[in-house]
Amino acid sequence: MISQEQLANTPTTHAGAEVMVDVRNLVKSYHHKTVVNNVSFAARKAEIFGVLGPNGAGKTTTLEMIEGIRTPDSGTAILAGLDVQRQKSAVQRVIGVQLQATTLFPELTLLETLQFFAALYPKALDPRQLLSDVALEEKAMAYPQDLSGGQRQRLALAIALVNDPQVLFLDEPTAGLDPQSRRMLWDIVLRLREQGKTILLTTHFMDEAQLLCDRIAIMDNGQIIALDTAAGLIGRLGAQATLDCWLDGRATKSDIEELEGVTGVRQANERYIIYTNTMQSTLVALLAYADTNGITLADLQVRVPTLEDVFLELTGRELRSE
């Protein structure tokens, strides 16, 4: 279980590494609705920092304020030592941005598109080399609308890299992609971290956050509700395993909470999620409980807790149902 004290004591930086992105108390409201509410975090050099949350949590707005596209109502964002609002053009030279669902000039070929973006910066990488880095060299003369979803995202990534940025922003980079395309993009992102780039990415896929991100901020309703490594976040559940099962109406939540080793129970109608730190004895106790009370037990599944469980624990809602 994650307590409020644990949340409050969440470390924002680790000592030693250079802080590349320092975000403090960002607030943004639209039409009297607070979309981003007092968001603070810091990301270090060569770190992949993930913002995980459901659609509408305020992830994109947060990123766009840090990118300088939107002006925050209050709060500051410092990138590579530069204030985003006061030194916007200097910041724009050191960042690379992949927007959610980028559409590009339909009249320009991939090569021309990259040449156009390259011309906007004082120093830029070779467009052809960039295309081959994202495995699109054969599409140099194609138009963006002729690309598949995965190819389009890779093009957007190549454009984001055109100025060899220190900080890279990826907004839902794998949304709508097939598994193979997702894996390909993950490989590229991991390679970029090896080159020392700081990467801020948003996602609503927990597997993506778990696999790619060094640290994860879980965002909901415009606020960061937890921030840690994936292992740290899951560790806070205090559970070694998760039991998913279906129990008929005679079972009660309080009975199950009494079973050996149980650290937490979530119930929705007749579906239960049971967190335990002693999987074997809890399992035995659960089976015995069902047996002695004549309760039907079905759909039993034992698994390792995931970020999904963390999100559910924190918000009482499922991430994926959004």
Partner: protein, 359 residues
């Protein structure tokens, strides 16, 4: 420098690859020009049939009549007012000029006045006739203001010009081409905004003004190139002659393009969806295309339409183009049109300044 060149080049090739834009501007203009040119003959129209009624019977009026009779472009008939008016109604005259009593006297003193009746029944010849008569009256006026004494008509203005339908339609097509090529800038910007391109550009060091300026320069270049192609085709196929100064013509083309660009930007300032931008564009361009005088003369249009027509920038652009191309007119003849177009630019820029959003 490289950045500026890349911006210009990119904006320009993007325009040339918009098939719809090229077809609606240059394509439509060329097709219309060919259709009208071949339909109404490119070989030269018959002479303008002019009825002259001399009610003054002074030396000066006799001289005017004599000058008119000498003109190769005119076939002059003289008669009484009733006779000539009847001939006009019967379609035997394209226009009737009445020299009122006391005209010669007034000419010496100043304030002389001629009455002109046009045959409105045939819109094809009306425009040509009006231009010819206008040239005659210009000639008379010039004679009055600059050279007191015997009236001599400017033979160049009247006789050298064989104004045919194709000569009238060509500047009109140039005006229409400029409208389609430049008004669409509004759709372009709304599209960029809707597609998220402007947002992506906002994350780069590129200033929106730089991109917009490049777009404007690219559209002006496209306008000039398309204009040259149209006029070259007109000269080659139909022997359409440009009587005016080429530099002045280029200026009118650029000013017209800027006017329509400004209106395009104004449209993009208050329209959010590209579908809506398309509708607004059609709503603005179609009435202008027909009432702006590109295809036919609109001076004879019903009175209730006149305020609308005279509010249209394309009307003034077409008029200025005809003045320069057909009449060889100088700055003074296009002043009003230039002022109206500048007013449109200022008004549009005010809207842009108040309401335009890049993101």
């Amino acid at each position: 420098m490289k950045k500026i060149l890349t911006l210009l080049y990119t904006n320009f090739i993007m325009l040339t690859r918009q098939r719809g834009l090229i077809i609606s501007s240059l394509g439509l203009a060329i097709i219309s020009m060919l259709v009208f040119g071949f339909l109404f003959g490119g070989s030269g129209s018959p002479k303008t049939l002019l009825g002259v009624v001399d009610q003054d019977h002074s030396a000066i009026s006799a001289q005017i009549v004599h000058q008119l009779q000498k003109s190769d472009a005119l076939q002059v008939n003289t008669g009484s007012s009733d006779e000539e008016q009847q001939a006009l109604k019967d379609g035997h005259r394209n226009a009737v000029i009445i020299i009122p009593p006391g005209f010669g006297q007034q000419m010496v003193q100043g304030g002389a006045h001629l009455q002109v009746f046009y045959d409105q029944g045939n819109p094809v010849t009306t425009a040509a006739t009006q231009l010819t008569v206008k040239a005659i009256i210009d000639g008379i006026n010039r004679a009055v203001t600059h050279q007191p004494g015997p009236v001599t008509l400017d033979q160049q203005a009247v006789a050298a010009k064989d104004i045919r339908e194709i000569d009238i339609i060509t500047p009109g097509m140039l005006g229409m081409l400029l409208m389609w090529a430049n008004l669409a800038v509004g759709i372009q910007l709304v599209n960029w905004r809707e597609m998220g391109i402007t947002k992506r550009l906002a994350a780069t060091p590129l200033q929106p003004l730089a991109m917009i300026s490049a777009q404007v320069v690219a559209r002006l270049a496209l306008s000039l190139i398309q204009g040259v192609i149209l006029l070259a085709l007109a000269a080659w196929i139909f022997n359409v002659h440009i009587y005016g100064n080429i530099g002045l013509l280029a200026l009118v083309v650029i000013l017209g393009a800027l006017t329509l660009l400004a209106i395009g930007f104004a449209i993009a300032s208050f329209v959010k969806k590209s579908e809506a931008a398309n509708s607004v564009l059609l709503l603005v361009s179609f009435p202008m295309m027909f009432l702006g005088g590109s295809y036919f003369d609109v001076n004879g249009a019903p009175g209730f339409l006149q305020p609308l027509i005279h509010a249209m920038p394309l009307y003034y652009l077409n008029d200025a183009l005809r003045q320069v191309i057909n009449n060889g007119a100088g700055w003074s003849a296009i002043q009003t049109g230039v002022l109206v177009m500048v007013a449109w630019i200022i008004a549009s820029m005010l809207v842009v300044w108040r309401a335009f959003k890049w993101l």
